[in-house]
């Protein structure tokens, strides 16, 4: 039996999960990663994606939209801006997420006219959202 890590998922409004797990898959901003026991201490920001908790009594999947994860040898804490259990997400939630991302692009384009950096970031955010939608079987409408 593999060693367990303590997994905490916290959103600003409440503590969503605090369970033991054998591994946690995290959508890091520079790539997905899996955290298991005795992982080196690491802090990474998240991109919109799915957090998978595997093994233990708290196995499950959560949709997160940005935030960060703190990993150390004994535990993983994810502080997500927004986190929803995968089963609970609706097309409506997803539409709101897409809308916010679109608004962010527009705003970045207006604010940083000659700097592509922030605009690219916002575009990437939307792309991540769309990829997330494909993965969970929701479609992105661009009527926003």
């Amino acid at each position: 039996m593999a060693e367990k890590v303590k997994f905490d998922l916290v959103s600003p409004e409440r503590l969503l999960a605090s369970v033991e797990a054998t591994e946690v898959q995290i959508p890091g901003v520079e790539g997905d990663m899996t955290a298991m026991a005795d992982h080196a201490p690491l802090i990474t920001t998240l991109r919109p994606g799915i957090v998978r908790v595997i093994g233990g009594d708290g196995a499950g999947e959560y949709i997160v939209t940005g935030g960060f994860a703190e990993i150390n040898a004994t535990g993983v804490s994810i502080l997500a801006e927004r986190a929803v259990p995968r089963a609970d997400i609706t097309q409506e939630d997803y539409d709101t997420m897409i809308k916010t991302a679109n608004a962010a692009i527009k705003k970045a384009e207006e604010t940083f006219v000659n700097e592509p950096g922030p605009v690219d970031d916002a575009v990437k955010l939307l792309a991540d959202m769309v990829a997330l939608g494909d993965e969970i079987g929701l479609s992105a409408s661009f009527s926003a």
Binding site: V10, E13, T45, E70, N72
Partner: protein
């Protein structure tokens, strides 16, 4: 001596006032429980967030490339005071205390020759500040349609503040709100949010052992704006609990006062009724004696 009918009317009116204050007290008690719960549920996030930010800001330190939200603009000329109060009154000194603290701060800053800008959240604080400081108002956030504050509300306040910061409208931002201690005690508090000031976690052992992905600077740049939202959110929640606590004790006092008043008025009513009876008797008896 007031006549009996007037007294009776007054007693009735105080009685119905007592009913209202009693009902308000019970509503506030129920809302307080809810507000306290949501404040408690939000606490883990704020604590962890601040712990990580404390470590991060210690790691980046005062290096020149540190983001402006952390190190400041280098000047301390223009202050933005974010005054957060309730949308409703009838909650004791709650709104007045916050406004008083903000006024003191504003007066001090103005005396030092700084520029002051005021952003109000909540109608009551706006009304309280308007007379003396109305000309410094820059914006007002209306939350009167919001029943239970969510993170989204905090985000919109934070976005408003950050936009102004990016536009170089101010150097330092301070939040004014009331910290909830218990039902009878709420402390009006001011907290600086820009430049951010995170307490390093106590007994911090391995801060420098952490790897960062992307690097510290990028993470900080990403997280600092969220830090503002988090600070605003926790202030909103503390305020929510404080407001209900203050209203509950204010209404409890009002109910008790109404009770005392009813007792006093009832005694007066009985006395004057007795006086009327005695008078009538005297008249009858002296009438009978005169015959």
């Amino acid at each position: 001596m007031p006549n009996l009918k007037d007294l009776k009317n007054r007693i009735d009116s105080v009685k119905s006032t007592r009913k209202i204050t009693k009902a308000m007290q019970m509503v506030a008690a129920a809302k307080l429980r809810r507000a306290q719960e949501s404040a408690e549920m939000a606490r883990p996030y704020t604590e962890r967030f601040n712990a990580v930010m404390g470590r991060l800001s210690a790691a980046v330190g005062d290096s020149e490339s540190a983001p402006k939200l952390l190190s400041g603009t280098g000047a301390q000329e223009t202050y933005l005071l974010i005054v957060m109060t309730a949308e409703r009154g009838l909650c004791g000194g709650f709104n007045a205390n916050i406004a008083k603290l903000a006024r003191q701060e504003a007066t001090e800053l103005l005396a030092k020759g700084k520029t002051v800008k005021i952003l109000t959240v909540g109608k009551k604080g706006r009304d309280a500040m308007r007379r003396d400081y109305g000309k410094y108002f820059v914006h007002h956030v209306d939350l009167s349609d919001v029943k239970y504050v969510g993170y989204g509300d905090a985000q919109s306040v934070a976005a408003e503040v950050l936009d102004r910061f990016d536009a170089g409208e101010f150097d330092v931002a301070k939040l004014f709100y009331s910290r909830f201690e218990n039902v009878v005690t709420q402390h009006p508090t001011s907290k600086q949010i820009i430049p951010a000031d995170f307490d390093a976690p106590e007994g911090d052992d391995g801060g420098s052992f952490y790897d960062y992905e992307p690097d510290e600077q990028a993470i900080l740049a990403d997280l600092l704006p969220r830090g503002v939202a988090t600070a605003v959110f926790s202030a909103l929640l503390e305020n929510g609990a404080s407001e209900q606590g203050a209203r509950m004790s204010a209404m409890d006092n009002a109910t008790r006062n109404a009770g005392e008043m009813i007792d006093k008025l009832t005694i007066e009513y009985n006395r004057s009724r007795q006086a009327v009876i005695t008078n009538e008797l005297i008249e009858i008896i002296s009438g009978a004696e005169a015959l």
